[in-house]
Symmetry: C2
């Protein structure tokens, strides 16, 4: 995808719809990617995001060690790869190779951007106080890349057990909300 | 909506798609409702949910005081009311009356269920450690009510400034994920 730099002030609009994300982690030597649905915006700007990464996941150790990740947002075109990444462990598998997910170096962090995703958000862990209780990492987005030619990206929204709601039409109502 | 008791083990599937919710708060005397998009599942069972409720909102005080809320999930049919609730304050307005939102008493908490929502989750605050930093309340769902006749509820997913993605089709892929 032809992603370009994207204003940090608009990042919340990409995530507050609740899409499944592909989280990349790593330290420059090793890298991994996991499928994740449990996340929430916490602040508009700088964009703060809460991500739940279970300590049963291989990514947990990588995220804790480097404190860096990239939040990649896939669309329905790569649904099979998204499910594939959620169904095996990076401890045993090079998922990028297995699922044919090409990567590109990030600008500000070690984990890579996934080319086939329409948006990639480079982020750094800024708060680990809720990791022990809820495996919840607070990350701050440093740099955002988006293919803005996709006006209505057909993001995936997990309903459980491999059932995904695919983003439908967008409606606009008069609103004072940001 | 004809909501019936719903297994707590399946609650995560309602929320991890990232729908806009109508959060009701109150203490039995007063009640309020706000529109909210910043939430995340934290645990399957008992279902734990992180909700961001800004201290600029009237609901913040009610939630802090009673420690109780109901997470109501609306569909596109009441999009106007959803936006309306996000555009005025319960400090000055009885939003239930203003937007014609009928309510029903909850079973386990004081805040009411919203009849026009297809799902309502009665919940109690169990952790306020992240309220000061991020206005993030951790709540535990006590009791869930769902109109299961809606197989593919057309939930709303906020993209910013009154633009909502409406839930589209659901696809199913072979998966080992819960």
């Amino acid at each position: 995808m032809a992603k370009r730099a994207y204003p940090l002030s608009k990042v919340y609009g990409l995530l507050e719809t609740g899409p499944v994300i592909l989280l990349t982690t790593g330290d420059g030597q090793r890298a991994n990617v996991m499928t994740l649905s449990w996340h929430s915006m916490l602040e508009f700007e700088p964009p703060l995001v809460a991500c739940v990464v279970s300590d049963r996941c291989h990514s947990f150790g990588l995220l804790q060690a480097s404190g860096e990740c990239v939040i990649n947002i896939p669309t329905v075109e790569i649904a099979k790869q998204v499910v594939g990444c959620g169904n095996c462990s990076g401890a045993k598998t090079d998922k990028f190779k297995k699922f044919g997910l090409s990567t590109k170096p990030a600008r500000t962090v070690a984990p890579p951007l996934i080319e086939a995703c329409y948006a990639s958000l480079e982020a750094r862990v800024i708060d680990t106080r809720m990791v022990e209780s809820y495996a919840l990492f607070v990350v701050e987005v440093q740099k955002a890349w988006v293919d803005s030619s996709l006006k209505d990206p057909r993001t995936l929204h997990h309903r459980g057990y491999g059932r995904f709601m695919v983003a439908g039409e967008t409606i606009k109502l008069p609103s004072k909300m940001r």
